[in-house]
């Protein structure tokens, strides 16, 4: 009787072990992370908990972009060094994008440049100054990074001009097509100058230099803003690009679709689409600030509109966020609604672009988040 019991126990053990062995052999790996799957529609594996308000995983790497002000232009070497140090603290090779936002276009009649953010007077921050500040940022990055990681530095401006009731004031400069075109041309030439310096300095394996502009529809007319784009395009020698880190203010979404929306000033869908994607040097990294997800819906809908006109889908390389800037300015009353983390913004943009097969993206590879000094 005891022997019979032992035999049964042994048999059961063998059956369990063989089943386990069979199970482990036949079990194929599944790719739960959307980035590891070939493309949408993604397959989800249970148990899986969905939440719209997930905290970012600490290991998700994003860079810090900067509003350039009188407080930080003198310490760009340190800022580049700090960004470089991050790569040494992370495993593997990082490939990243940083935007340095130097503020609104300006000229003193002799040189082009910007008025720095937080600059109280009309003191020109010339393209020659910007070249020096940016070179030092790159030197800082090279001195402190891991020796293998790569960075694309976007030298940024905006399309901001000070209008009162739609009229450009005497205190504004960026108000005519001629000035916008000339500024875009000068910006492309400045970007090429810095990139050539990168190449001759032997940094070309790890550093790329691009232009960048924060084109916001409520900041200026389309016919002026897009002249800047044309000026840049005409002088980029097809060697440099620019990132449009702007907005699609008032644009419709899939929740309130309208293929021919009445937008602010003279903006139309074709003109927004041109400035962000259809212009040869333009790559969109839109501001995805809103916790509600409306910014992501606006840009995804614009991409869908484009495909309906026979254009290609918009390729978003990053969502642009202001999470750190909001932490730096606790008194800002709008921030609680506009402080997506980089991870939340990326997920919103991925989810919305993947709402339609024709706009779907397999990945949004970069994350960058702006901060004040």
């Amino acid at each position: 009787m005891v022997n019979a019991m032992k035999k049964i126990q042994k048999r059961n053990l063998i059956v369990i072990l063989l089943s386990l062995a069979l199970l482990s052999v036949t079990k194929q790996p599944v790719h739960a992370n959307s980035a590891d799957q070939e493309g949408p529609p993604y397959r989800y594996y249970f148990p899986l908990i969905f939440s719209n308000n997930t905290q970012p995983a600490l290991s998700d790497y994003y860079t810090t972009s900067w509003y350039m002000t009188p407080q930080n232009v003198g310490r760009t070497y340190q800022m580049g060094c700090e960004e470089g140090r991050k790569t040494s603290e992370l495993p593997g090779i990082q490939d990243s994008l940083v935007i340095l936002d130097y503020g609104q276009p300006w000229s003193d009649g002799i040189q082009f440049g910007t008025l720095l953010l937080r600059e109280p007077r009309y003191d020109l921050n010339s393209t020659n100054d910007i070249i020096i500040y940016t070179k030092n940022y790159i030197n800082g990055y090279m001195a402190c990074s891991d020796g293998v990681s790569k960075i694309d530095v976007g030298i940024g401006t905006t399309n901001f001009a000070y209008y009162i009731n739609g009229v450009c004031t005497q205190a504004s400069w960026y108000c005519t097509e001629e000035r916008a075109y000339a500024h875009g041309s000068a910006w492309a030439e400045m970007v090429r100058t810095v990139y050539n310096w990168v190449i001759t300095s032997g940094y070309g394996a790890r550093v790329k230099v691009s232009g960048a502009t924060d084109i916001e529809l409520s900041w200026n007319y389309a016919h002026i803003s897009n002249k800047w784009v044309e000026g840049f395009d005409a002088h980029d020698n097809n060697q440099v690009i620019f990132y449009n880190f702007g907005t699609c203010d008032g644009c419709p979404t899939r929740l309130s679709p309208n293929p021919n929306p009445d937008l602010v000033y003279d903006w139309t869908f074709p003109l927004v689409h041109y400035a962000a994607w259809r212009a040869a040097p333009a790559w969109p990294i839109p501001e995805i600030y809103a916790i509600s997800g409306i910014n992501a819906r606006q840009w995804a809908y614009l991409s869908k509109w484009g495909t309906e006109q026979g254009y290609s889908r918009m390729q978003f390389l990053s969502a642009f966020t202001q999470y750190q800037a909001c932490l730096s300015t606790p008194g800002d009353t709008l921030c609680p609604l506009l402080n997506n983390t980089p991870q939340q913004a990326r997920q919103q943009l991925l989810t919305e672009t993947n709402f339609w097969p024709q706009t779907a993206l397999t990945n949004i590879p970069w994350m960058t988040d702006i901060d004040w000094p």
Binding site: I14, A21, V25, N33, R121, A143, S312
Partner: protein, 235 residues
């Protein structure tokens, strides 16, 4: 015989399980991992993106633009590949490549000044005027105005560029937009633009005070951000 047969099956199964577990440690791959950066390099990724866009585009103008997009990325990729074939730059070379930074703001005579019309407007603030002066060898600026959303919410901003200080201080009485009318050393006299209320701001204490001679303890200034570990020091 039965005993050996059992042991043979037992150990064979165990080895298979261990081998499979070792080879396949994380069967749900990616569930707990961050998104990959881009092993192929972003330039390659961008080129692939443009190539796929070219296949989709029907508009002839867009096709030309996409060709140009591709050209720019190909240029950068060529730069990258050529640079990879050369010797890596040394830290010494990088350090020697530093560029002297121009002084953005010269130390100017102190006083009360106008500001540009759109100063801080894009950040939701209307500034009426500013004070500029030197304290302990450092340039200090104070801007006075109000929130654009609520013109009654007066405020000042203390800016010390060299120390990276940018501090917004709201007027607790919130009786109107502020302007600076007088500077007595490090204490500023302000009033609302309607002229109804007068108050004072103490720069070292970074706070509003009730009178021109009220005593308040100064706050410590932050350590200058320049004090960082520079790998180029001594190179």
């Amino acid at each position: 015989m039965m005993k050996y047969k059992f042991e043979l099956i037992f150990f064979t199964s165990l080895i298979i399980i261990i081998l499979v577990l070792l080879l396949n440690m994380d069967p749900v791959r990616g569930a707990n991992l961050p998104l990959k950066s881009t092993p192929a390099g972003m330039l390659t990724v961008q080129l692939q993106m443009v190539q796929s866009s070219l296949q989709e585009a029907k508009d002839p103008q867009e096709k030309i633009a996409l060709q140009e997009k591709m050209e720019a990325q190909q240029f950068a990729l060529n730069v990258q590949m050529e640079a990879q074939m050369r010797p890596t730059v040394t830290l010494k070379e990088i350090c020697a490549n530093r560029v002297p930074v121009p002084q953005h703001k010269a130390m100017v005579e102190g006083g009360i000044f106008e500001v540009r019309d759109d100063f801080l407007v894009s950040q939701g603030i209307k500034i009426n005027n500013m004070f500029q002066g030197e304290m302990d060898g450092t340039l200090v600026e104070v801007y006075a105005g109000s929130s654009l959303d609520d013109p009654n919410q007066g405020l000042v901003i203390l800016a010390i560029d060299a120390l990276g200080v940018w501090l917004r201080v709201f007027d607790p009485s919130a009786t109107g937009s502020l302007q600076i009318i007088e500077a007595n050393g490090s204490r500023l006299s302000l009033q609302t633009i309607t002229g109804n209320t007068r108050l004072y701001f103490d720069i070292p204490a970074r706070q509003f005070v009730d009178s021109v001679d009220a005593v308040v303890p100064p706050m410590d200034l932050p350590v200058a951000k320049d004090l960082f570990l520079d790998p180029c020091q001594g190179k």
